[in-house]
């Protein structure tokens, strides 16, 4: 059991490497390995989730070097939740990619996919700042590969931008990490928390610079306005299943903001305390509005979904930006919803594009096609989810955020932005849906052979996850609440990582 915690990192690393071999390339073996690996990761995540939900914080010192000297990975409620979410989403996306044959339309899909999961899982587990950077790089470089998978002019062009923006972002990450190490003398996040708290006042402005720059990098990944400019082109130009997987990439940014702010830049951090709180809320509200405005403006479904991701991440961050347990609990409930609903719309968009053929996912009328009923139902459900209308989890999440924001001075702004954003999304999605399914050209119906019915299975799977999040909203909100409590009492985390006194090997 003790080594289970590294399974989410080791399994994709090893399987990813194995699927590189010629024998596994483009064969059933490769698919089987990749699927098997993902299922194992889900299982491991479930076991870790069960363990974390008891409230224990488990640490694992790599190489046997105790924190803060070696690299530790830490499992708490938040990381367990992120692992599980990643695994489940990945499984859906992978099955979709296999069913639609995306994995055979280019090189190395499965290795890249597994390495992507490796990066994600690593980022969620690590308790070391520089190691977080390394896993960011792993997940980013895998995402470059996946983003470019299938290629084509537009994808290359958009990929170029995506890569460069993130390279520059990584540069800033190193600056921030460098400052923090240079001033505090540590890289371990728990140790950082202690040392920032004890830092002399003269050092604190420098630490605050490091904190702000670090959060800026995370905000770039989370596509927080005005750092969101890279996202629409990237997500709209990659293949839809990859974009669906990328729904979790923005959440890595969100996760990191939450992790580091509550742990190291929180209550006890002196002049560094809650460094991002001042600017993050307006930025989040603006991304919310810009995102949903983009939903209304989009002329393609995938672009619409991309803007939807910006909008829902904005919603999420507007709750997180309050840096307060209730709002964080609300955000933690909304986070899986935001991820899954964004991904769902991408998966649905992919199938719609395949089924319509001529207009692809452009919001223009096309021929009617066989099996429209099922797809329109799926679209309807995903649209309701993305807009955050009842009865699905998005609505519950928004209610949670609205009520949690009630006490804040910014409540009117948050309320107005969320409700206006929902209205814009509602409007945009209704328009898109009527264009795609109701307004058809007078031509003959396209035969059913144009798309495989089985291709909707993963989308339904993701939808059922959303449904489960809705039905089991009670336990889910309880988990989110407990997670928020854990985050806002970082002493337990610090004690778990450093021990009572925090010594060497």
């Amino acid at each position: 059991m003790t080594h289970l915690i590294i399974a989410p990192i080791l399994v994709p690393a090893i399987i990813g490497a194995l699927t590189l071999l010629r024998t596994a390339r483009h064969t059933l073996l490769g698919r089987g390995l990749s699927l098997g690996s993902t299922i194992v990761q889900v299982a491991a995540a479930l076991a870790l989730f069960a363990e974390a939900s008891t409230g224990t914080i488990r640490t694992y010192a790599l190489g046997g070097w105790a924190a803060p000297f070696g690299v530790v990975i830490v499992l708490d409620r938040l990381s367990a939740m992120m692992l599980l979410l990643t695994g489940l989403l990945a499984l859906g996306v992978l099955v979709h990619a296999v069913l639609t044959g995306l994995d055979r339309r280019g090189w190395h899909f499965h290795p890249l996919f597994q390495f992507q999961l490796l990066g994600l899982n690593g980022a969620f587990l690590t308790g070391d700042l520089f190691n977080l950077f390394v896993f960011f790089e792993v997940l980013l470089i895998a995402s470059y590969g996946l983003m470019l998978h299938g290629q084509g002019g537009a994808r290359l062009q958009a990929g170029m931008q995506y890569v460069i923006v993130n390279l520059v972002g990584s540069t800033l990450f190193l600056i921030a990490a460098g400052i923090l190490y240079g001033v505090t003398g540590t890289l371990n996040m728990a140790d950082l928390a202690l040392r920032i708290g004890a830092a002399p006042p003269g050092d604190q402005p420098l630490i605050r610079v490091g904190a702000q720059l670090l959060i800026a990098v995370f905000a770039l990944k989370a596509a927080l306005l005005p750092l969101h400019l890279w996202l629409p082109r990237t997500y709209a130009n990659t293949s839809a299943p990859v974009a669906a997987l990328f729904a979790i990439l923005t959440k890595v940014g969100v996760y990191s903001i939450l992790r580091l702010t509550t742990l190291a830049f929180g209550e006890n951090a002196g002049a560094v305390a809650w460094a991002p709180a001042g600017w993050m809320l307006p930025a989040a509200l603006l991304s919310l509005l810009a995102g949903f405005l983009g939903v209304l403006a989009a002329r393609r479904l995938r672009l619409l979904a991309a803007f939807g991701v910006i909008g829902s991440t904005g919603t999420l961050l507007s709750a997180i930006a309050l840096f307060e347990p209730d709002a964080t609990a609300a955000a933690l409930y909304y986070l899986p919803h935001s991820t899954l609903s964004g991904a769902l719309l991408f998966l649905v968009a992919d199938t719609i594009g395949r089924a319509r053929k001529r207009e692809d996912d452009r919001l223009e009328p096309d021929r009617p096609f066989a099996g429209m009923g099922q797809l329109s139902l799926l679209f309807l459900l995903s649209a309701i989810a993305l807009a955050g209308l009842p009865p699905f989890s998005g609505f519950i999440g928004k209610l949670l955020i609205l009520t949690a924001a009630e006490g804040s001075a910014a409540a009117p702004w948050i309320w107005a932005a969320i409700l206006i954003g929902t209205f814009l999304a509602l409007f945009g999605l209704a328009w898109a849906g009527t264009m795609l399914f109701w307004k058809t050209t007078a031509e003959e119906e396209l035969a059913s052979s144009s798309w495989r019915k089985a291709a909707t299975i993963p989308a339904w799977g993701v939808f059922f996850l959303l449904a489960a999040l809705t039905v089991f909203a009670g336990p889910a909100t309880r988990y989110a609440e407990a997670t928020a409590q854990q985050l806002f009492a970082p002493e337990a985390y610090v004690a778990a990582v450093l021990g009572p006194e925090g010594s060497g090997r």
Binding site: Q157, A158, I164, L174, A177, A236, L303
Partner: protein, 122 residues
């Protein structure tokens, strides 16, 4: 003039060059900008370990003056990673140019070149 000043100013200059170059319109300039930024960052990250002359972090008994090994290890990792990234971006730039016929980062075609059959016109 102190060594610290030389290093800091060099870091600043390389960063400035990196920022300026990444803001240019041609992929080649942008790639050079990225390369510049990674020099700057490597030097920066190295500098946070403080400067010391003639005291490499090779352990020997009794030595108390030594360069901080940790930032060096970090820089090594960073160098390798940025090497991989730079290589990828160079090839991506090349490949994008070959595919689209323009080396402008936003895909703006140059005069005389026909725009490619891009699929992402939204």
């Amino acid at each position: 003039m102190s060594l610290e000043f030389l290093v800091a100013s060099a870091v600043g200059l390389m960063t400035a060059a990196g920022i300026y170059l990444t803001l240019r319109g041609r992929t080649f300039s942008v790639v050079l900008g990225i390369a510049m930024l990674s020099y700057a960052i490597n030097a920066f990250l190295f500098s946070v370990g403080r400067l010391i002359v003639n005291a490499p972090p090779i352990y020997a008994k009794g030595v108390t003056e030594y360069a901080d090994p940790l930032p060096q290890a970090l820089v090594l990792t960073a160098i390798v990673i940025s090497f991989g990234m730079t290589a990828l971006v160079v090839v991506l730039a090349l490949r994008t140019y070959l595919e689209t016929g323009t080396d402008h980062v936003n895909g703006t075609p140059d005069a005389g070149e026909t725009p490619s059959d891009s699929e992402g016109d939204v």
